[in-house]
Subunit: 240 residues, 4 copies
DNA sequence: CATGAATGAGACTTCATTCAT
DNA sequence: AATGAATGAAGTCTCATTCAT
């Protein structure tokens, strides 16, 4: 899929290109995904990837420039699949809120259901300043976050999403917590209730995205401050 | 610093322990921080670290079990310093909101002012399922986020912070966006206005942490939905 | 050309033999000569040879057993052409001296005008104990030197060329310097005045081939020795 | 020897340099000489060289940049030894003729007695346009031929050697035949009577180096030409 | 016939790590 | 304490060569 759609990464010199090759590429990508997921980038070896397919390392290198490119393509493929899944499932006619909630849920779901391995891979290797590859990956991420960006922009237009902050920041506001939650999940190897988490996250994030009702917020803050001050006063009046 | 305070990481077999050794450890840690920051974990070499100090690689390995441990200690040291800075500067008598804002600002500041190198290192290596080390690092992170956790807990107690979500999720809600913003900053190599970003983030995050005013929110949502529905209707009535 | 005339080198298993095949063989030989000349044996690749013809490597291998054989054939072809040129131009009715001079001039000319590439190839690869190929090449060289050998033999017969040494040695005496000069020329990439060099070489070599006039030579040597001895004596008598 | 005297070839990055290293270098050079001699450059493998010493390939590569450099050093060492042998044995007070004869004999002897392997290596690899190495090797050859050049120059000064040709050409006149003879010897794997060959070569070459006695030569040539012409005439008069 | 594809083999390279002194 | 030296292991890369279609 990605290899035809996004030839971002230049192919190897003696790249075969026939029908069967397509298959080979797919196989290697799959094996690569498996191994990288299991071991992580550093501990994965091209030898093992080849071995799993019963082919020689040389063959792998004739399809991919190297370990790094292979990994990038694995990640890229995952992104491609995810982007497609999101684009395909996005309720075109839904409200901004519905679309937003869909993206949040889908993101979590895709990450967690692909397995913690790929999740880790995407989050950690996708984050590693990977020399030349970073560019390609950054582009992938841009494409991946595009649907959300569109939704946010639409929301801003019709006043449902606050316009007092740059889109970039809002994007971080949305993806940041999701990735953090995913890290918690993978690191802790904790089984996560996707539905519940998605609902909660979508809810809290949505509220954060609301245009602030200035007077109301100020009033609320005032009320809180007063409340807390009083409590402190009382504590000080009767210490212990 | 960290090496005495938190012997989480088992020492090397033939760890020297004298006065001078302490100095050596410090030097190596410093050189390590520099090299890891500049090159990232993977591209950094123990050889370079040793070379910068004019000592042999073997010496480095007599103080640290290996590259990995050294890196973990470098990160650990950074955490220690940061934790200390936060604990020291935290306005003990401030309101929940003030403390929260302080932590947000401090976090961004520490990360960005330590240099993009260390920032990248902490975010990316700190995130890499690093084998045996991850435990130690997870512990570091736990300690690092402890102040925020305490503030959030206090906020929940006095009703200023929503209690309808697990603390863990709120933590992700806070740290997630910050880390995401930091990545944007390092990757894009963009000079970031710390003050402005901190203020914006603190503001938006604080509003997200507010206990939801159920009726109000519902009303707002209802209003939005109706508004959007009407707009859609009109668009359909007069297509193009 | 050579491939039909001298099937010294065993043909490939599935050697095609049709009209068109002949053409193919020629093409490959030409491309091979070009590439081997440009890069030298080691740095030339079968891939490039195939590529220049727009055919697949496999095709090359269906006409030639391998890189080595191809190279041998390229060299063999050059020899064939050269032999033909020499045989054709040799002044049948010339004196021994004239024929000798012709061969010397022709040899230098053929080598230098074929380009330094092929010259290097013939001299260096022709010299490499190339395993199975050496035999074929040795044979080529035998044929190449045959004209000279005949001239030398004729010269010996009629007393114009010294008979006190084996022909083999005389051959080395003639080809050795020529090849050496050619190496100088290619290595130094020096433009060589073929005519002048040929004349000089022919002259000096011819004099070396003369039957030694024993008495004369002895006399000359005696005179030299006496002369040098006297000079030395004088130097010693009046040292500085 | 060569490694200290002529650091022409840059050492590897992590080149050890202590006492033992010197020994290692020597060992590797010896093993290298053996393997290269036996197999020739192309068929020799770094693996075998390492294996013979019971060390790892990595070690070999830590002392030498690569196969090519190692080979160049092997050849360089052989040159160094030979140069030393020639310089040491050269009869300082001998006549030009004696010194000349000594060099010729020594050259043949060194080549043949070092074994056909090294002889082949020096002649064939030394001749291969070896990219970057060629420079170093050319320099070696220059040093190797220096003694002869000096003798020739001296001979020209005192009129014992012809001055009507560039030294460069005379050098080729001397080394060319010797190398040719050596090739004959190695290729044919023929046992060569060094003494006899050396004597013959020295004799014939020396006569070729003599200043031409113009009148005498012309007379001789005239006599030959006339003789041959007459013979031809007679043959034509009584054909068959 | 031609070729796409695969591959064995070997050169290099780089490093973290070990160990004897 | 320090270190020189060695090295296993893996990545990277390049080719000649083979073979089924």
């Amino acid at each position: 899929m990605s290899e035809t759609a996004h030839p971002v990464l230049p192919a190897s010199r003696r790249q075969p290109a026939g029908r069967k090759s397509q298959q080979r590429v797919k196989e290697i990508l799959e094996a690569g995904r498996a191994v990288f997921s299991e071991k992580g980038y550093a501990r994965a070896t091209t030898a093992e990837i080849a071995q799993r397919l019963g082919i020689s390392e040389a063959t792998v290198f004739s399809y991919f420039r190297g370990k790094r490119e292979l990994c990038a393509r694995v990640i890229g493929d995952w992104y491609d699949e995810s982007i497609e899944a999101i684009e395909a499932g996005l309720p075109r006619d839904g409200t901004v809120h519905q679309q937003f909630a869909f993206i949040v849920r889908m993101h979590l779901q895709l990450m967690l259901e692909s397995g913690t391995g790929i999740c880790e891979l995407v989050l950690s290797e996708g984050r590693t300043r990977h020399h030349e590859l970073s560019e390609a990956l950054v582009e992938m991420q841009r494409r991946y976050t595009a649907p959300l960006m569109r939704v946010l922009a639409r929301g801003q237009e019709c006043g449902q999403i606050r316009s007092d902050m740059p889109l970039r920041l809002l994007r971080s506001l949305v993806f940041g917590p999701m990735e953090h939650v995913l890290w918690d999940a993978t690191l802790a190897n904790r089984r996560t209730d996707i539905e519940a988490t998605a609902t909660q996250l979508a809810s809290v994030l949505w509220s954060a995205l609301q245009p602030p009702n200035v007077e109301l917020a100020a009033l609320a803050q005032f009320s809180q401050d007063v409340g807390e001050a009083m409590r402190r006063l009382e504590r000080e009046r009767a210490p212990r």
